[in-house]
Structure formats: structure tokens, C-alpha cells
């Protein structure tokens, strides 16, 4: 990613390939990360519905983790969780 010189980049901020957003680790922006208490989680997947960054990993209909490469730590999942299973914890704490 970042490191190319101006003359190596397509002009005007143009992006020449589709689906390139997955190469951009928006997780780098995060100051708080979500953590889930598996005891409380009912796998209702409301967090998966609300996550704006497609960062709730679901396998066989169950929430199995967070994709921290792209989770920006916005906290919407924690806010929406009906059983308060998700909480936001300070990164590096």
C-alpha cells in the first residue's frame, strides 16, 4: 500500500482494480477493539447485520470472531448487541 511515488500512481486518485478495499487495513485506525463474552452471546447475529465493515466472522450460522484487519472499532456491534455480550476495550490496554 502506501509507499508508491506520485509518478507510480494512477492520476487523480483513480483505482484501477475492483474490490481493492480489502487490501486496505482499516483496522489500523482502531483505538478500541470489540471483545465478545461467548457465555452471553446468543448468536442472534444482529452484530453481523449492523457491522459497517463486514468484520463479524460467521461460520455455520454462528459468530466466531472479529476480522481485526478491517474492524475500525466503531462500537456499533457493542451498542446493538441485545444481551450486552460485546464490549469495547482499549487497544494496548
Amino acid at each position: 500500500m502506501a509507499g508508491e511515488k506520485a509518478e507510480e500512481l494512477p492520476e487523480g486518485g483513480m483505482i484501477l482494480v475492483a474490490g481493492s478495499s480489502k487490501n486496505y487495513n482499516t483496522g489500523d485506525w482502531r483505538s478500541k477493539r470489540p471483545e465478545c463474552d461467548a457465555e452471553k452471546c446468543t448468536n442472534c447475529l444482529i452484530c453481523w447485520v449492523y457491522c459497517p465493515d463486514n468484520s463479524i466472522i460467521v461460520k455455520d450460522g454462528k459468530r466466531v470472531g472479529f476480522k481485526l484487519t478491517h474492524c475500525k472499532g466503531c462500537g456499533i456491534c457493542a451498542n446493538q448487541c441485545p444481551v450486552k455480550a460485546i464490549k469495547m476495550v482499549e487497544e494496548g490496554a
Partner: protein, 386 residues
């Protein structure tokens, strides 16, 4: 071809008719209105294939042009004064996305107080927007610039939008004899519009205008700076080629009787024409004076300007706009261009003609006299009751 009488707005519309852009999106505003009126008649009469969009505002007009240009269309528009100010935000989007939109600007004062007449405050305000800015002295030059502009903006080393400026009313509404070029000559000169990554190329999808974070924005701005560096050589070449098809040879800066001159006055737009008359009169009296017409304001031709001015005794810069709290906007450009020169002339600024105030021959003669007799301040106001 035979010379005919048309006004400055009509010849802009005529040049577009001959070029037949894919899209024109515009909103009428005095003194640009005749351009879009005349062009919409060409559209209604089926004389062009252009998709003409009458937008609900200038902000929308420029946004439409941006969309059309990004889609891969050759795009033109026109505006003036408050219309240009209303485009402000999206002017930077057009240049930032490197879209070669051609826009005629009928230079008019900005409100307030509200005024519809000529000065350059609209274009000068947009000088940092990343657009190329060309100024025309008269109707013929407005027509010629409009044709050359497409070649410069669309050049693959440049691909930046361009404003072709002409003085509101003085040039836009005055009938002048001018010589149009034959349609086929214009078409051949301008050539076909080429685009590398049009949005309408579904097989090769691209993203245009994405959010640009701290890690890329600076590089993309630098690309614009770099593209601007190509404008002067490309415009020089386009002017050469244009001379071959028209017999009219333009320069980015045009000196008039400067060969042995000691004193010079610089102006953009129609006043540059009046200056030539004054120079002839003063030369007849034996005064060693000349004048300089600046056609290209962005990019500013520093080297060429310095070359012309160094060694002179006195130079006056005429500004048809004022940066209130500073000087006219052209003055510091010229001053800065001269900073590294060995033999710098005395340099003074005259702000004139705001809101369409006539500039009289006697006043211009007064400027030369003040230069010769070393009178006047660094910043002067010409023709104001103060």
C-alpha cells in the same frame, strides 16, 4: 475564410458547434448567457450531436460536467462571476480528478455590491483551483483560445480542466469582425477525444474520486502540480500548430514594441488591446515604451516574464481585480517572477476597472508618464474617485 461580425459569446458557441462536444451542461448567467443561448439553438436545430443539459445551478452544471467527463465524454461549459463562485467546491473536484473540461468564463465582478460588468475577480479567485487559465484580448482571440483549449486540456501529459476567459460585455457583447475557421479544419485540429479509463467502459471498471487519506492525498496533489508543468510547452506547440491552420500566431506572453523599450505596462484581457494604441501614440512622441499582454495566468510563466522585464527601467502591472488587504493578484506574481533577476525594474501596481469602470486612454497614458517620471506609489488605484 471571410471575416464576419459576431460578439465574443457567439464565437464561443460557434467554436463549440464546430467541435461538437459530447456533453455541455451549463446554467445561464450574465454576461455568459449568449453562449448557452446560442449553443442551445444549435442543439435544437440538430446542428450538433451534443447532449445539452440545462442545469438548475452552476454547482450542478459543473457536477454534471465532472460526471460526463469521467464517463469519457468531451465536455464544455461556461459561466461568470457568482456562477463561478458557486462552482467553487466542484472546480477542485474537476481538477483533482484530472478531467479535461473546457469552460468559458465571461469575466464579471463578484457581488457585493451586485454588479454585472467586467473585472477579473471571478477568475482570479479561482486561480488556485488547479485549472489552466487563458485570457483573451478580443473576439478573435476568444474564438481561437476556445479551439486551442481542448487540445491543451486533453493532452495526455496534462489532462487538466481549462478556463478560457474573456472580458464580460467588453468582449462578450461587442460585435467585432473576426475570421472563423472552416468546420472541417477545426474538427481535424481538435481531433477525437481520447480517454484512458472511462467510467462507461464496463469491461474495465475503475473507481474515480475515492476518499483520499493522509497517505495518498499529497501525492495526488503533486501529480496536479507536475501536470501543470507540461502546460507551457504543450501550449507553445499548440499555438505553433494553430498558426499553421489560421495564420494567427499567439504567444503565452505577447510583447508589443518592447525591443528597445525602457518602460512597459502589463495587462490581461481587453485592456491589452487599448495599451497597444497608447504605445503607438507615445512612440510617435519619441518615448521608449512598450506593452505586454499576458495570455496565460495559470500556470504562471515566471521564466518568460522575467526574461521580458529584466533590464527595463519601470514596469506597471495593471490588475482588474484586487485582493483587499493586499495588492492586485497579478502584481505579486510578476514581482515574484523577477526576484531572481539581476537587473530588476521599478515595479508598480495599478488596480483599475473594477465593476466595469471604463479604462480611458488618458488614464493609461498617465500610467506611462508616472513610470517615466518615477511618480506614483507601489500600489495605485486608477480611475476611482478617492
Amino acid at each position: 475564410m471571410e471575416k464576419i461580425a459576431m460578439n465574443g459569446d457567439q464565437v464561443i458557441a460557434l467554436s463549440w458547434k464546430q467541435i461538437d462536444p459530447d456533453v455541455v451542461a451549463a446554467y445561464p448567467i450574465t454576461p455568459q448567457t449568449i453562449i448557452v443561448e446560442a449553443f442551445s439553438e444549435y442543439v435544437a436545430d440538430g446542428l450538433v450531436n451534443t447532449e445539452y443539459v440545462c442545469a438548475e445551478s452552476e454547482h450542478s452544471a459543473m457536477s454534471l460536467c465532472i460526471g460526463a467527463s469521467a464517463a469519457g465524454a468531451r465536455t464544455a461549459t461556461a459561466t461568470a462571476s457568482a456562477g463561478l463562485a458557486f462552482m467553487w467546491e466542484v472546480l477542485y473536484v474537476a481538477s483533482g480528478m484530472r478531467l479535461p473540461i473546457v469552460m468559458a468564463v465571461a469575466n464579471r465582478a463578484l457581488s457585493g455590491p451586485i454588479n454585472i460588468h467586467c473585472d477579473h475577480s471571478d477568475a482570479m479567485g479561482a486561480r488556485d483551483s488547479g485549472w489552466i487559465q487563458l485570457f483573451a484580448e478580443n473576439v478573435q482571440e476568444a474564438y481561437d483560445n476556445s479551439i486551442m483549449a481542448f487540445r491543451v486540456a486533453e493532452h495526455m501529459d496534462i489532462r487538466l480542466p481549462i478556463m478560457t476567459c474573456l472580458d464580460g460585455f467588453i468582449t462578450t457583447h461587442s460585435l467585432e469582425r473576426f475570421e472563423p475557421l472552416p468546420d472541417e479544419v477545426v474538427k481535424k485540429f481538435v481531433g477525437e477525444f481520447k480517454w484512458k479509463h472511462p467510467l462507461l467502459d464496463y469491461k474495465n471498471p475503475v473507481t474515480m474520486g475515492p476518499f483520499d487519506w493522509t497517505d495518498y492525498y499529497f501525492e495526488h496533489k503533486y501529480q496536479q502540480v507536475d501536470a501543470m508543468r507540461h502546460v507551457t510547452p504543450v501550449l507553445n506547440q499548440v499555438q505553433e500548430e494553430f498558426a499553421r491552420i489560421s495564420g494567427r500566431k499567439y504567444e503565452i506572453i505577447e510583447p508589443y514594441r518592447m525591443d528597445d523599450a525602457d518602460y512597459a505596462v502589463i495587462a490581461m484581457g481587453s485592456t491589452a488591446g487599448t495599451l497597444k494604441e497608447i504605445v503607438d501614440e507615445l512612440r510617435a512622441e519619441g518615448k521608449k515604451v512598450g506593452s505586454i499582454k499576458l495570455r496565460l495566468f495559470r500556470p504562471f510563466p515566471n521564466v518568460e516574464m522575467a526574461k521580458l522585464l529584466q533590464g527595463l527601467k519601470g514596469v506597471a502591472v495593471l490588475d482588474r481585480a484586487v485582493s483587499i488587504g493586499s495588492t492586485g493578484p497579478l502584481f505579486p506574481e510578476v514581482r515574484s517572477a523577477l526576484y531572481d533577476s539581476k537587473d530588476r525594474p521599478r515595479l508598480v501596481n495599478y488596480v483599475y476597472g473594477l465593476g466595469g469602470r471604463d479604462i480611458k486612454p488618458e488614464e493609461l497614458k498617465q500610467v506611462y508618464k508616472q513610470l517615466i517620471y518615477k511618480e506614483g506609489e507601489t500600489l495605485n488605484f486608477l480611475g476611482v474617485r478617492a
